[in-house]
């Protein structure tokens, strides 16, 4: 699924945790790992990094380290493009009240600018954390099939036990349901669309799959749902670049999730395009 995983490194107290998460994700997919550091290479930093890499062994022939100066968002995006990275792993920053998470401007911009899928971890840790529940966006989208496939692959790799493939519908749909004939029922139609895509994908019987619509405002509701189900992973489509800036002022779509991050987040982007 993901052949090359990258993680951006900053020399902060969270360096080791971020590195470990990158290594772990790369190992899940048996992928190559690209470490991107924004800034000049200097002897001290190199020594620290080498020390850490020695602690958490990763095959050297599958590892690449990139040092580059400049604007972090641009450097990381370019590095991802150049090295054909499929998945970028990044950490979120904790919010002041400890129970919600906050995305730094770099991570936020990366969500839009990165040319590949991005995994945002709310609490990067050196030790492996158990993942149990995931929530996946099943809405109609040009890449819905690919997203669901990626989510299944990712979920199985990290040992997800319970998954929810949900489609956001307007609350009105419930009302219409009683008025419309069976075949026009929007809920049933949505369900069938998603279950068709799921068909045959679940070759691993360890995972329980649920598929139903949720009702509320698009973009927001799925985040609320992930929080109420206490999901460990939320899988969404990566936002499109164009509309991004304006949405920060008029909160819409993905911004609900980024502003009030409910859990770990995988933003899927079809790399091939």
């Amino acid at each position: 699924m993901f052949q090359r995983v990258a993680t951006a490194l900053a020399f902060s107290p969270r360096l080791e945790a971020n590195l470990c998460e990158g290594i772990r994700v790369a190992q899940y997919f048996n992928a190559e790992l690209v470490l991107i550091h924004v800034g000049d290479q200097d002897a001290d930093k190199k020594r620290i990094l080498d020390g850490l890499l020695a602690d958490h062994s990763f095959p050297e022939n599958r590892l690449k380290i990139v040092w580059h100066k400049g604007d972090p968002v641009k450097v990381i995006s370019r590095a991802c493009k150049v090295h054909e990275v499929d998945l970028l792993v990044a950490g979120a920053v904790q919010n002041e009240n400890l129970l919600t998470y906050y995305l730094g401007s770099v991570a936020r911009d990366l969500c839009r600018e990165a040319p590949c899928s991005i995994l945002l971890l709310v609490n990067p840790a050196t030790e492996s954390v158990k993942f149990h529940t995931m929530v996946v966006d099943g809405k109609q989208h040009p890449e819905d099939k690919q997203l669901i496939k990626a989510a299944m692959a990712f979920g199985q790799a990290i040992g997800i036990k319970e998954s929810f493939f949900v489609e956001e519908l307007k609350p009105k749909a419930v009302k219409e349901l009683s008025n419309e004939a069976e075949e026009d029922d929007p809920i049933a139609m949505e369900n069938e669309r998603v279950s068709k895509m799921l068909d045959g994908m679940n070759d691993c019987r360890e995972m329980e799959i649920n598929n139903f619509p949720i009702f509320g405002q698009g973009g927001y509701t799925i985040s609320h749902f992930a929080q109420s189900k206490r999901a460990d992973l939320l899988v969404l489509h990566a936002p499109e670049k164009k509309q991004a800036r304006l949405n920060r002022f008029f909160t819409r779509g993905i911004e609900y999730v980024l502003t009030d991050l409910p859990t770990n987040l995988l933003l899927y982007k079809n790399h091939a395009e």
Binding site: Q94, N97, L98, L99, Y101, V122, N123, V129, K130, H132, K161, E162, V166, P171, K172, V174, K175, S178, E208, F212, P213, I214, F215, G216, Q217, Y220, T221, H224, F225, Q227, S228, R230, T251, Y256
Partner: protein, 730 residues
């Protein structure tokens, strides 16, 4: 030809209501300082127009209490000292405001009626009551010219009028009539004789006044009431039809009147429509926007021929429902029959002493501001009471619009002070905060997050109303940090409405928000742990009822002693905060404790709070340790438990549905045919045994009352089976 039974009922209700509308229409117009016929015109036009074009079913429309104050202000402001000039100009404002109201209906603004904070609305209504009472009490006591220019002055010159009553002898007879009428209004509801109840109280007042006059006429005595105390009606009723004066339309005062009339008509109508919908025995729901359009049209037409604005009125509507009205036709009949009554009774109507009509209004005003309302607001907490009082005082001194504005502002400030961090207040002003999904067949969960207050309630309401009435709805406030009293009040109304219509609505996650049943408007605010026993939420009250049924003990307060839970594998990776809502019971075999347990999973920033309803049973003897769970609920901690899934031979169904973990040798013997069959036949619960204790629960969320009952039942049934096997399997 047979007359349809429903039509007969509508006719009867319409007749009874028209008997009330006659004196009330006259009185409300007098109180507004316009010719008495203006009130009748509003009732007649309103009844006919709204019954044809409206979207509600059993409401009655006509002149309303709330409008008295606005019209009075408008007539004074526009009249420059001459009430009749003011009346004509006010009619212009009424016509324009009717247009605005229709427009609101077309723009579908009907749902805006929900976004007023309840304490401010209550304050406004009570202030209207006080203003009506203060002014009318003077006239009721014979003082036709109280010489008070403001509403507040009307109130504090009242004692002076009472004292002057002893010296001014020509006041005394009218005052006597007024006080007697007030007595009828007060004691009417206390007399339960059916014959007496057949005629509504205001009509009794009218009838007795007419009888009083006839007595003097028949015995050829001097009528002791001076002509200035009698109702002024034109000799020819067609003279009552006057046309509005739009010449002041360019002035600020005119538009001030338009805004005031539109605001109060809309709010009063929306509140009444909602209230009447709750009374409707057929549980129909009004089309609010359609009704607004019709009310606007009615107001325009009424204003064009000299009538007051047309609004939906709660008191007359409830009489309508109580007398068996069935459809909008009752409102139609009320209008037509009122017209007939006026035309036939016009000569006797002129003999009615005004103090008698004022007594009816004094009583109406009193009902809007009676001590019970103050007590209710006081119980809602001092902050809500303060907002309520503030709204009353500002309304009395600075008018209705300022009153309601200050009430809303005060509510906003109070909430902004309460919500931490403040940006949540602003975020949920704009952000959505609700999620809805079907948890299981026909059972919907609506989860509300962050801040739930009067400003964003329409979004929650939209979801609540979108669900089919026969479905089960669970309203989950566990993720809510702040909820205000307006939302709580609305939710309680939804709860009883759904119950009445055969649906179900259960609210969870509110117990520690200090909401409660005894204080329906309780200040909810931020979460606090200590919840005094005398303030239980609805769920707690229902759980207590369950406890009483079972003869069990129920304790609301949180307890720290939850060590017993920590032994269970489920809690190995969790930290228990406390337990609350404890049910304590005993069967012949064991002691059972059912609690809402609050615990954390993860630590520090990954910390998540979970609340679940769990049953713990203390056993006298040891049974094997095991864990049974529904697929997946527990695999999170599977690694820690160190056991593998256990398959019981010959029971493939059981193995598929349940994950059993524990010492295989012991358990294969323990889980015999009967126990497996029992588990297979019942709803699936999570069950853990640590030898002398077992833990049973359903989902990782608080149970609704019915789920709680199911949990208790299951646990009681399970224990004997376990103990039996424990004996044969030492």
């Amino acid at each position: 030809m047979k007359i349809d039974a429903g039509l007969k009922k509508d006719f009867f209700s319409g007749f009874i209501v028209s008997l009330i509308a006659l004196p009330l229409g006259l009185g409300l117009a007098l109180a507004s300082n316009v010719p008495p016929t203006a009130g009748l015109i509003a009732a007649i036009v309103g009844g006919v127009v709204v019954s044809i074009f409206g979207g509600s079913h059993v409401t009655i429309t006509g002149p309303g209490n709330g409008l008295v104050v606005v019209i009075l202000t408008a007539v004074t402001a526009l009249g420059n000292g001459d009430p009749f000039t003011g009346y004509l100009a006010a009619l212009g404002a009424i016509v324009v405001s009717g247009g605005v109201m229709s427009l609101l209906g077309f723009l579908k603004f009907g749902k805006l009626g929900d976004i007023f904070p309840s304490s401010a609305i209550q304050g406004m209504l009570s202030a209207i009551g006080i203003i009506i009472l203060a002014k009318q009490a003077h006239i009721m006591l014979g003082n036709l010219d109280p010489k008070a220019s403001s509403n507040a002055e009307m109130l504090y010159t009242l004692p002076a009028t009472v004292f002057r009553l002893f010296s001014e002898t020509h006041w005394q007879v009218p005052a006597l009539v007024g006080l007697a009428s007030l007595g009828i209004m007060i004691f009417y509801s206390k007399i339960r004789k059916p014959i007496f109840q057949l005629i509504p109280a205001p009509m009794w007042v009218l009838l007795l006044c007419i009888g009083f006059y006839e007595y003097f006429r028949i015995f050829k005595l001097d009528y002791p009431i001076q002509p200035e105390y009698l109702l002024q009606l034109p000799n020819d009723l067609s003279q009552a039809l006057v046309f509005p004066d739009f010449s002041r339309i360019g002035e600020g005062v005119f538009w001030e009147a338009v805004i005031g009339i539109t605001l109060i008509s809309t709010v009063e109508s929306l509140l009444s429509i909602k209230a009447v919908d709750r009374l409707d025995p057929q549980a129909r729901r009004s089309n609010v926007n359609k009704d607004l359009k019709a009310l606007g049209l009615g107001t325009m037409l009424s204003g064009l021929v000299g009538g007051l604005p047309v609004v939906t009125v709660i008191a007359r509507s409830s009489v309508n429902v109580n007398t068996g009205a069935n459809s909008r036709k009752a409102n139609f009949f009320h209008g037509i029959l009122l017209l007939t009554l006026v035309l036939t009774m016009q000569s006797v109507l002129k003999k009615i002493p005004m103090p008698a009509l004022c007594a009816i209004l004094v009583y109406t005003g009193y009902k809007l501001a009676e001590p019970a309302i103050f007590r209710r607001m006081w119980r809602a907490g001092w902050q809500q009471f303060a907002i309520f009082l503030l709204t009353i005082v500002i309304t009395l001194f600075f008018g209705l619009i300022n009153g309601i504005l200050v009430g809303i502002l005060a509510t906003l400030v109070q909430q902004m002070l309460k919500i931490h961090p403040l940006r949540l207040f602003f975020r949920y002003l704009i952000w959505p905060n609700t999620l809805m999904y079907e948890e299981s067949e026909n059972q919907f969960i609506i989860s509300v997050k962050g801040v739930s207050n009067f400003l964003n309630f329409p979004r929650l309401k939209e979801k609540l109303e979108s669900l089919p009435i026969e479905s089960r709805v669970i309203l989950d406030f566990s993720l809510t940090k702040y909820m205000d009293s307006t939302v709580l009040e609305h939710i309680q109304q939804f709860e009883s409405e759904r119950e009445r219509r055969g649906g179900e609505l259960e609210v969870i996650g509110l117990d520690d928000l200090a909401g409660n049943r005894g204080k329906p408007l309780s200040l909810v605010g931020s979460r606090s742990l200590i919840n005094p026993l005398n303030s239980m939420s609805k769920r707690q009250a229902e759980v207590q009822a369950v406890a009483e049924e079972l003869n069990w003990n129920f304790k609301v307060n949180p307890t720290q002693a939850v060590h017993s839970l920590e032994k269970f594998p489920y809690f190995r990776t969790k930290r228990i905060e406390h337990a609350f809502n404890t049910l304590l019971g005993e069967t012949e075999l064991c002691k059972i404790k059912v609690r809402d347990v609050e615990y954390f999973e993860g630590e520090f920033i990954a910390k998540e709070m979970i609340r679940s309803t769990m049953a713990v049973v203390n056993l006298d003897q040891k049974i094997p340790a095991f864990t049974i769970h529904r697929e997946n609920l527990l695999s999170r901690i599977a690694a820690a438990a160190g056991f593998e899934d256990l398959e019981i031979p010959d029971y493939p169904d059981f193995n598929k549905r349940f994950y059993l973990r524990g010492n295989s040798e012991e358990l294969l013997e323990f889980f015999d045919h009967d126990l497996v069959l029992f588990l297979e036949s019942r709803a699936q619960f999570h069950i853990e045994s640590v030898g002398n204790k077992i833990l049973v629960f359903d989902r990782e969320r608080l149970a609704t009352v019915s789920e709680l009952k199911a949990l208790i039942r299951f646990t009681i049934d399970l224990v004997p089976l376990l103990l039996e096997r424990g004996k044969s399997n030492p």
